[in-house]
Symmetry: C2
């Protein structure tokens, strides 16, 4: 795997891994370098008082005595290293000659057709995403029925016959079997399918090329894996992975071909570029949320708030359409499945049940705010614990079998805790309540009663959330709910990050609903059953607060919860709680998704430049020396440049000044354009060589050919050259991007960042006053400079580049 970085400044670069499958072997972790994030929170920012001497090139010669902010170099550690193995996507159009020639063939009619095609593609993305969601849902529902029906039978039988170890072992066996399957699928099948996939999709939309993210195999592993995880009874949800599935469907459908299956429909060729694909993936992610929660508006907002890094009014409507189609399809299929053909009665995978209209009074606002604070604190604690667990995993659980083993251990512990709680907590409730439990288990209760704790454990987490939202005030014993909360909180924290497909939405909502219901029960008791103190309402607020504290999403989560509960009157209350939870949580650490991104060392670029970076100049941070090519270059030179470097883009210059000593050089020639490694590879494969150094007269290779290779370019090693070919020339002029974006070397880091981020660039060439190339800035250059705002202290850090970086 290659890197765009022209030179790794810090020299710490270790050999990158050969793929994600064996990425773990690349982990070269030095325990002495490890510094937990909390420790370096308050060190920092020493230069304001001028105490820190500045490197010479950081000073503006025209401003004597100028003091610039120094970005503190962080030691290599878990949250403080940027992986060098991730490449960027090209969101910038390469407007070369062959592109312009193709562009001239377009006419208004073809443009209209292209636009209409986009809507058609988006329609199918919505439909397919919903169908996948339905399949997962129906599988889970049907197989859960079988599993818990079977267990119920044996438990009932063994309570009488005093052989409870048998159903325990059965439960353990079934669950561990599914968990094993889930884990093997991911660990040995497609490691990139682990987790919820939301952080990876977010990174993809930010412009990072996460390998194998959208493969057909990944989609299959994700869908099958999450089904198994849920059936294994682990503390996971199936909603997060739907986002990844939707994104994968979008990336696949929009290309009109499948490289995995090796066929090409020959359609949708115009969408085979990173930018078009990105817009479809944004829609797919929204469709995933829409299908998961039956929340089309929530889907669009989630894509906007959490997923997307580039937004455009024109795609809003398409994304909205995609979400809507997805929600519709799901509704129709599930309605049909539940025997209501032609009705639209099933809103989503996760219908939390309609809430009645419960108004709330002004007096409740302090309660909501307090619950927001609790949720924020609990979420921050969850993230911090999960961070430490993840660090532990990255250090010690490296081999595949260890990962599978860990999953089985977690599964066993989950089942055992559940069984112990069912056995010891005797929380008996009368049968036949309005919201009937699916598998009421009597255990040691009297006839006509059932064990409420068993009901919590022996059903899907979704059903437990629904129960906590809607059960009558007397249904749950505060002690058992409290115990359930504590165990489930820690279990879900341990579970998230395992080598299985799993979402964090439902576990967070469930533990939040548990403590929220406790608050509600308390208020109900204090007010002696006042109408407003409805425990179900507080369970909803608690669930929102907990998830808000963990994931730090506000707007979209409020809409999703409104859409899944069908209740608008609580809207303002939910929003207030969610904003509070986010603000409180942000004081301690970042959201779980961002934390995952940082842990994996993914070079994600935030929305705005780090503050106070106006004094840092482009020439300070740029990579140099720059490897450049001439407009008509000798083939042997091109080959050796590709062999010797790992750079992804090469500035093309007018005059060759490359012969001198590189180290002392300050300028590398007058800029004529930029050519990408992928283009050079295709050119070497297609061999449009010429014998004269003045250039070729043959007609250039059409854009069609370049598009044919997208997105998997020919392996350089497979191409062989004759001596004659090596001695001939390659005319780069028809293929190079003649007007790449540049930045003057005196430009500030802020300005450079703005340009790079707003336009979604991959390479930014730094030029001097004479428009000569002096350096190169890539995603990794910029992502290394980061500001961390934490408890009012700002930390300016420069992250070292490292070779490790396992996907999430």
């Amino acid at each position: 795997m290659d890197t765009e970085t022209q030179t790794l400044i810090n020299g710490q670069h270790s050999k990158p891994n050969q793929g994600l499958n064996n990425a773990e072997s690349g982990i070269n972790f030095d325990a002495t370098q490890f510094q937990p994030r909390v420790r370096d929170r308050h060190i920092s920012y020493g230069s304001i008082n001028g105490a820190v001497p500045l490197p010479e090139n950081n000073r503006d010669p025209e401003m004597p005595g100028q003091q610039t902010v120094v970005f503190r170099r962080l030691p290599q550690g878990m949250l403080t290293t940027l992986s060098s193995q991730f490449e960027s996507l090209d969101y910038e159009l390469c407007e070369n000659k062959i592109f312009k020639e193709e562009e001239l063939k377009k006419n208004p009619c073809s443009l209209t057709k292209q636009n209409a095609t986009r809507w058609v593609v988006v329609f199918f993305i919505g439909v397919c995403t919903a169908l996948i969601a339905c399949t997962i849902d129906i599988c889970v529902v049907e197989m859960t029925k079988i599993k818990y029906g079977f267990l119920k039978k044996y438990i009932e039988k063994c309570v009488k016959e005093n052989c409870l170890y048998i159903p325990y072992l059965q439960w353990l066996g079934i669950s561990c079997g599914f968990a094993f399957l889930a884990s093997v699928l991911v660990t040995y099948g497609e490691p990139v399918a682990a987790g919820s996939g939301i952080p990876l999709v977010k990174c993809y939309l930010n412009g990072i090329n996460v390998h194998r993210l959208h493969r057909l195999k990944t989609l299959f592993v994700k869908a099958a894996g999450v089904t198994c995880s849920v059936l294994g009874g682990l503390a996971v949800g199936k909603e997060g992975p739907m986002v990844h599935s939707g994104a994968a469907v979008a990336a696949g459908l929009s290309q009109g071909k499948s490289t995995s299956l090796g066929f090409d429909f020959g359609i949708l060729k115009e969408f085979r570029c990173d930018q078009e694909k990105r817009d479809f993936v944004t829609g797919g992610a929204a469709a995933g949320v829409a299908a998961a929660f039956g929340a089309p508006i929530g889907g669009v907002l989630f894509s906007l708030e959490e997923g997307s890094s580039f937004w455009n009014q024109n795609i809003t409507w398409r994304i909205f359409f995609c979400s809507m189609v997805s929600a519709f399809t799901l509704n129709v299929v599930l309605s049909t499945y539940h025997g209501q053909l032609g009705m639209l009665a099933y809103d989503g995978l996760l219908n939390f049940g309609k809430f009645p209209d419960i108004p709330f009074a002004l007096l409740e606002l302090p309660i909501f705010i307090s619950m927001g604070i609790i949720g924020g604190l609990a979420g921050a604690l969850f993230n911090q614990l999960n961070y430490h667990i993840s660090v532990f995993r990255r250090r010690f659980i490296l081999s595949r079998w260890a990962k599978v083993l860990e999953v089985i251990i977690v599964c066993s512990v989950t089942v055992s805790i559940g069984f112990v709680m069912i056995y010891f907590v005797n929380d008996c409730k009368p049968l036949g309540a309005k919201d009937a439990v699916e598998f009421p288990i009597q255990m040691f209760c009297e006839d006509g009663q059932f064990n409420a704790v068993a009901a919590m454990w022996l059903q899907t987490p979704e059903a437990s959330v629904r129960a906590l939202f809607h059960d009558q005030p007397g249904t749950h014993n505060p002690l058992s709910v409290g115990m359930f909360f504590i165990t489930y909180f820690f279990l879900s924290c341990w579970t998230y990050g395992l080598s299985i497909s799993s979402g964090i939405f439902i576990p967070a909502l469930l533990s939040g609903a548990a403590w929220g219901r406790l608050v509600g029960l308390g208020l109900y008791r204090i007010t002696q059953g006042a109408a407003w103190a409805d425990p179900g309402k507080y369970a909803l607020i608690g669930a929102a607060s907990q998830l808000g504290g963990i994931a730090r999403v506000t707007l979209s989560l409020a809409v999703i919860l409104i859409e899944t509960t069908g209740n608008l009157s609580l809207g303002l209350g939910l929003m207030l709680t969610l904003l509070t939870a986010k603000l409180v949580g942000d004081c301690f650490n970042s959201g779980i998704y961002d934390m995952n991104v940082q842990l994996a060392g993914l070079p994600m670029l935030p929305w705005s430049s780090p503050p106070m970076c106006h004094g840092t100049q482009a020439q300070t941070i740029m990579s140099k020396p720059v490897v450049v090519l001439k407009e008509v270059e000798r083939v042997s030179t091109v080959i050796s440049v590709l062999e010797d470097t790992r750079h992804q883009g090469f500035p093309v210059i007018f005059e060759d000044r490359f012969s001198g000593s590189q180290a002392k050089q300050t300028s590398f020639g007058a800029l004529r354009g930029l050519i990408l490694r992928s283009q050079l590879k295709i050119l070497l494969k297609e061999k449009p060589f010429c014998s004269s150094p003045t250039g070729s007269t043959r007609s250039p290779i059409p854009l069609e050919t370049f598009r044919m290779y997208y997105p998997r370019y020919p392996a350089f090693e497979d191409i062989h050259f004759t001596e004659e070919e090596r001695a001939s020339y390659l005319d780069l002029r028809p293929y190079l991007n003649p007007t790449p974006y540049t930045v003057p070397k005196h430009a500030s880091l802020h300005r450079t960042f703005q340009l790079f981020r707003a336009l979604g660039l991959r390479h930014l060439i730094v030029t001097d006053d004479n428009n000569e190339v002096v350096g190169m800035i890539t995603r990794k250059t910029l992502a290394r400079y980061r500001a961390r705002i934490c408890c009012g202290a700002i930390d300016f850090v420069e992250l070292p580049l490292g070779g490790h970086g396992v996907p999430l």
Copy 2:
């Protein structure tokens, strides 16, 4: 008023007006040049076949035989002229020396404080916007009661005494009085307060400096004007203007000073720049919608979908908070006003009444789609008619008194039609229905009955919408609803664009609800009263469809309607209808807001570049010659440049090549930076002159001083200079932006547009290969190139610049 355009290429420039107050005097309309938009729809795009000879500089010398898309020059007409009187805002930071010096004084603590301050400001924006909305609402409700109570008394009396002309004259008198007031306020007070203000806010957020848009006076005229308009019984709503009010509140509060009132709190100085102000205004617009409809999520989405041109995840949460605070405040105040202190029972200005849960079946989808098509067609017709009326107004209704007179005529016609309908249509319904009418008028009905037509006219349009949504199926006679729809449709079309503050939301919803109810009544009759054929449901779908067809908003409108009716089950149906209406309407013309923007010639930049513009180069469209300044320039030169040109920005060069003949010059010197007219004006006012041409040694004027003048810079005419001062020098180096964004002259229009639009630039300098200035690109340069997609045909046009352009 000045312009950034360095040179008006087409030479058609007419003297701009001296302000908006007397803008009408500047209209220099040539009837022969007028071409309605429909006529030139299919002419165009002649160059694909190479038939049109290209100007020499449009050809790429390296691509022989290259054919470039030619942008057809349009004749000056109503929708085809770009006004030259609008300036741009500066969304780019000027990172000059004095800025960097100030930046160094900042520390993490001050940054945290600044961030917290933003939240506090946003809180107050939400509160104030809601308070204004409450005031308007309460005024309207109370005075409507008085007005219609009074009329009812006289009508009842005169029906018996056969003197109906008396209440007619009273109604006419009262309504025309209010309408006169509304019109005089706007026409003589603040013309920029006319209309809904949404198009202007949209333009402001796009980066156009619309003068007087956010003044305190404008806010007052807007609020008082819309109250009078509604009281005048005109076919207007008070919701659209709330967006403008919110924006004005945000722009005012965020600056910590009022230039109108002449005081400065000395706080919030760090927010006195265009970029910060823009973010607050985005929040204010959202708060306006939230307050108008009680729809906090709808507010955020409206701001996102329709208002904003720049989006950033970081501001999402602040905008959401602002919306939420606004909805909360409104709810609390209105609850208190209605005697329910401490409850949160009033969701918004426009509570359409809670809809019961009406599910819908798959079979209804074709009906919804058909209604979407009808709405799209009706909306397109509305826009087209309104366009012709607006053109007529701009040609013939120029003087202020004529504008006022037109308002009075429209008001008289409205009242007369209402009276005639009440008199002739005898639609009697029994009194005492569940949703009681506020002013039941018996007219010629029997005792115990009331005239249903009178009930429609003798109440606010909001109440009529509510009635159409919720009345029992038998309440309305199809004939009277149909007549009401036809008259109201044309009346509202005539009314929109009058010189009063008025919104289009409610009139559109009302006429849509009318025809929607007709559809519902038809279905109810056909199905003989099936449960799903609820006329109220179809009235809601019709209302959405009509407004969607006119304004072409989908996502936010769906959310607003869901939030105001409290009904989620119709969500998918609403979305489907709205998307259909938008797609159908877009086949014929653009939305009413965009049409208004085009009519006013506002240089708004769309989200993406015109298609097929890759062959057009920056050097073809750039303005030249460029007026440049030296780094240390003679004061007299600066004065004469400011006097002789109207440019807003001047590139600063290293070497003076300005002495030669301008016309033949191709390069104007090596670029060193960019200085703005506003900066030069302040410098001339502050006079930091030096006697030596090598530069000043004095410490430069601090940024504080520059900020003090923002946003109204010293009038150049008021500054006087001695001979000695004129002979001295001005050192521009500490003030100039040293690294302005540049674009190479060979860059395509697409690339230039991307850079300009994504970064919100005001000036883009075109450079040659040696980094020397060769031209200048501004907003107006780019806004002139436009693609119009209409019925599958794409029209590439180059708009001429004109001097007219009255605000909407």
